[in-house]
Symmetry: C2
Subunit: 172 residues, 2 copies
DNA sequence: CTGCAACAGTTGCGTTTGCAAGTGAATGAT
DNA sequence: ATCATTCACTTGCAAACGCAACTGTTGCAG
């Protein structure tokens, strides 16, 4: 059987995975100066940008497993960055919101993050960069749908979308 | 203080990290049918492409921590995929090589990997794709140097490069 | 030669992870 | 109204991870 040949250095998933890992490794070192971890930073950033979110939605938006997220949120509550509130119209939903403290700290790493991106991309063709962001977004979109997660609506309106579970009702 | 505004969806590190995570998550599910994990697959692929490698070099090439790598190799030896040999000219170096069994299994996921990449990128502009790979490689290169890892030579010649440790001699 | 520093790997250990099972709340069918 | 199902979240548990400490080897000053 003739295998189609696979050059690792040109294999997108491999490239993506390695670059993603490395980026996050370095980033987390820098983040340590604020006492933040990468997951925390992502949570803070999403909440700052989109406002209060339910746990499930936050999980999709940050690509963090719900169980992990639940624990991380726990430690963030203890640190006073966010609050865990119950949704008024549905008592099983937990709504995560930034506290004042959380909002304050969420802005701290921004300049660093911006500088970080610049240092990674300086000297690269702006066209290539734009193209690569397009590709990355498109790829991510496909991955997300393939993984069965629907991306929550931008509007934090409670009774909104995300009402289609791609999983067909399968039960014993 | 005027923060430069950071749009998460356009932030390269964030994009990279999330896409990388998702990709690997899905990929690992598919890999399970061969009883392989993602790290194993990476190791197999690198060995298949570049030939026997020292542990440190393998660590750099796969972006896996040496300690983790050491353990993973252990389980791969137990499974009969690779062998742990001692370098003839330097008894502290461990050389990892594919066994026949390992070589055989290393080809198995290739068609899947190829299909995987196709499904992720089909319909995307070839130009954009090429550009994005360029960017990814460049970014990765910068990350690697910044992380202090020098990429080993393509030639498996033993006494080659990788003789500069970027760490200044610091000891107690 | 001798002794110290750098290297290559391995192992210990605490933390993080991600799946699966468990809990309580809402939904829907009879 | 009742009961099974689904949903949102939490918790248990075992595997994976990464750092730091440790072992053995080589290189190099003096």
């Amino acid at each position: 059987m003739m295998t189609k040949k696979l050059t690792l250095d040109d294999h997108l998933p491999y490239l993506l995975n390695r670059a993603g890992n490395l980026v996050i490794q370095l980033f987390s070192r820098d983040l340590a100066q604020w006492g933040l971890t990468v997951p925390m930073w992502r949570i803070l950033a999403v909440l700052g940008e989109r406002g209060p979110q339910r746990l499930v939605d936050l999980a999709v938006l940050t690509s963090i497993d719900v169980s992990t997220l639940s624990r991380t949120i726990g430690s963030m509550v203890r640190r006073g960055f966010v609050t865990r509130g119950v949704a008024p119209d549905n008592r099983r939903e937990v709504v995560i919101s930034l506290t004042a403290e959380g909002r304050k700290i969420s802005t701290k790493p921004v300049p660093m993050a911006v500088r970080y991106e610049q240092s990674l991309t300086s000297g690269l063709s702006a066209k290539d960069l734009a193209a690569s962001k397009r590709v990355l977004k498109a790829v991510f979109e496909r991955l997300a749908t393939q993984a069965g997660r629907s991306i929550p609506d931008k509007t934090p309106s409670r009774k909104s979308a995300s009402r289609r579970s791609s999983k067909p009702p399968a039960r014993k």
